[in-house]
């Protein structure tokens, strides 16, 4: 378990992080969500030790992080970059060795990963000769080549083509399935919603919400229901305990407790045929708006 405790950081007199604390559980994909400038990148840099915190600690399995712990982390910075003139496989091997892999293991890892990401044919090309999409895959390979024990990825999906998004999602899930704590930030709430187990929502340098996706849903949004009738559904607005969100002839979208929703369904069946009834999961975008707004 990777944990942050009361991390505070200021640049000059501007406070960027204020008592930030959350956990990244092993075997789980944790999404880190927040607007631009909310403090995501600063938090990740502090986890990696690239930046120091003014106060607070980062621990792994309860013990404060050491430099040698961090060398087993895989990190993808928001600002991408590799050596443009260095050959791809050589560069990955070099990075793996800096992380402490032996020469043979480093080379084998690099080759295997390039194969996995569909870059095997490009192994001996300098990075600057790769297409933009392939450079992004190379960047992901750079974060994974030493088979990290913890993964921290800053906006890993930004700028990826849809195929690469698929590949990266699969790879991240694989790592999580192996018991590696995975933390990644993203603007693309739909992706986060699709693949994350846990969520951390940050705004203005403070963690506004953190927990499992299901728990956040339960906590931050009234359950919503959709009702579809062949005739006008206007009557449900008069039902006690119902807040209508949207009404359009036979279609009604409303907020209500599960008991009230069941009562509404019974009432609808009593009036005639029911074409559709379903509970609606609030989207992450809704939760985000509610938490941050």
């Amino acid at each position: 378990m990777l944990e942050l405790h009361d991390i505070t950081r200021s640049f000059d007199s501007r406070r960027v992080l204020h008592d930030v604390g959350f956990g990244v559980a092993p075997g789980k994909l944790t999404g880190f969500v927040g607007a631009n400038g909310a403090g995501k990148t600063t938090t990740m840099r502090i986890i990696l030790g690239v930046l120091s915190a003014d106060s607070g600690t980062v621990t792994l399995d309860g013990a404060a992080l050491t430099a040698s712990d961090r060398r087993r982390f895989g990190y993808m910075p928001e600002e991408r970059g590799l050596y443009p003139k260095m050959r791809l496989a050589e560069q990955l091997t070099y990075l793996a060795r800096l992380h402490g892999c032996g020469h043979v293991a480093a080379r084998a890892n690099a080759r295997a990963l390039l194969e996995r990401l569909g870059l095997a044919e490009r192994a001996d090309d300098p990075v600057e000769k790769l297409s933009l999409g392939n450079q992004q895959r190379a960047q992901i390979a750079a974060a994974l080549v030493h088979d990290p024990a913890v993964l921290v990825l800053d906006e890993p999906f930004s700028g990826l083509d849809p195929l690469a998004v698929e590949t990266v999602q699969t790879v991240l899930k694989e790592y999580a399935a192996r018991g590696v704590p995975v933390l990644f930030s993203s603007h693309q709430l739909d992706i986060v919603e699709r693949i994350c187990d846990d969520l951390v929502i940050i705004a203005d340098g403070e963690v506004r919400a953190a927990g499992s996706r299901a728990a956040l849903r339960a906590e931050y949004s009234q359950p919503r229901y959709e009702l579809l009738l062949p005739e006008d559904a206007g009557w449900i607005a008069a039902e006690p305990g119902v807040a209508v969100v949207h009404l359009d002839d036979g279609y009604a979208l409303f907020e209500a407790s599960p008991d009230v929703a069941q009562r509404v369904l019974h009432a609808a069946i009593g009036r005639g045929p029911v074409a559709g009834f379903s509970p609606l999961q609030p989207s992450l975008a809704q939760i985000f708006r509610e938490v941050v707004g």
């Binding site: 961090r70 990190y75 992380h99 892999c101």
Partner: protein
């Protein structure tokens, strides 16, 4: 895949960084070509120096009749007898001899000299009477040679420090500009990264100096300049020792100043002060290689000692303990410079965009 177990020890990481620096340098055509040119220039200067100093074979002169006695008294002339003045003149024209000496009773020396196109000074000198000269403070080395040696030390240090200093500066900014530095810093410390860069480039510089020294020694031996080699030997060794320490210090300065900027275009202006530090001893040693006071000061100032002290050793002006004292001063300065340089470097690496102010970089 097999994973990292605890990470590379800092010492291994320094060596990995150094290796990468060296490999990328050795693969660069520009580097190989400039090294080739430098080696050729060194070789050429030794050969030219050899030609100049071996141009002192005694001139041959054609002698006619009683002139033979006069020429016979001069050690530095090789006499070739000629039957008469006309024959002697023909020999001069054909280039068989450098000059002719014929009897001429109208002159106080009782001989006349016939040359071809220019006055044969070496012959005239041999036939003239010179006053006795006493030198109060004889210099141990001839002035021209002193100048050439000064030029040699100055140029070699200047060229290596410039080339490899600029290379380090560019490689620091390359990492900043391409942002790869953030990945590196998440793995190894800024100190390790800088140490690796300085080590890698220093080793290449030392290899280049070793090649130059080997080439110079070989060429001196091949052209029969053993005497010069014996005179030069100790100062070259001291030069090498001072160079190693001085170069590492300069390299650290280049790394630190380059880290202040984020674009290759700004490297020149950021590292300009360091370049002045490298250029100054070169200019001074060329202009003042026969000025004992300037050389004396230069041989103790850490940024010029690597040129100044070997020069004073060569001219015999330095006592035996002087290079040791100067080396100690250089070592202490280098250590301080490296500590300050490393902190500037570490504080500036992640600040991209505008140039980092020097005071900010120091404070962190």
């Amino acid at each position: 895949m097999s994973g990292a177990s605890g990470g590379a020890a800092p010492r291994d990481a320094v060596w990995l960084v150094a290796q990468r620096e060296m490999v990328s340098r050795l693969r660069s055509k520009a580097f190989l070509i400039s090294t080739g040119i430098l080696l050729l220039a060194v070789l050429a200067s030794v050969l030219v120096g050899g030609l100049l100093s071996t141009g002192s074979t005694p001139p041959t002169v054609a002698v006619v009749g009683s002139a033979a006695t006069v020429v016979g008294h001069a050690d530095g002339l090789k006499a070739v007898p000629a039957p008469d003045s006309d024959a002697a003149e023909r020999m001069v024209r054909s280039g068989k001899v450098d000059a002719a000496v014929i009897p001429d009773d109208s002159t106080p020396a009782h001989v006349a000299v016939i040359g071809r196109s220019g006055v044969p000074n070496s012959v005239v000198e041999q036939l003239s009477i010179s006053p006795k000269v006493t030198l109060l403070e004889p210099s141990k080395q001839p002035a021209l040679l002193t100048y050439l040696v000064a030029l040699g030390f100055g140029l070699v240090f200047f060229m290596s420090a410039m080339t490899f200093g600029q290379t380090i500066a560019q490689s620091v900014v390359e990492e900043k500009q391409t942002r790869v530095v953030e990945i590196l810093l998440s793995t190894i410390s800024a100190r390790t990264l800088m140490a690796g860069k300085v080590l890698g480039n220093s080793l290449l510089a030392f290899a280049q100096i070793a090649a130059i020294t080997a080439l110079t020694t070989g060429a001196l031996l091949a052209t029969g300049q053993k005497v010069l080699l014996t005179n030069l030997g100790p100062s070259v060794i001291w030069f090498a020792v001072f160079f190693v320490v001085g170069f590492v210090m300069i390299a650290a300065l280049y790394a630190a100043t380059a880290a202040l900027v984020s674009r290759q275009e700004d490297v020149g202006s950021a590292t300009a002060p360091v370049m002045m530090l490298v250029l100054l001893p070169y200019i001074l040693v060329i202009s003042f290689n026969n000025n004992a006071t300037v050389l004396g000061i230069m041989s103790y100032v850490p940024f010029s000692a690597m040129v100044g002290m070997p020069m004073r050793l060569f001219t015999g002006a330095a006592q035996w303990w002087e290079p040791l004292l100067s080396l100690l001063i250089l070592l202490l300065t280098a250590a301080a410079v490296i500590v300050i340089g490393a902190s500037i470097y570490g504080n500036s690496l992640l600040r991209t965009g505008a140039r980092v102010r020097f005071t900010e970089a120091l404070r962190g």
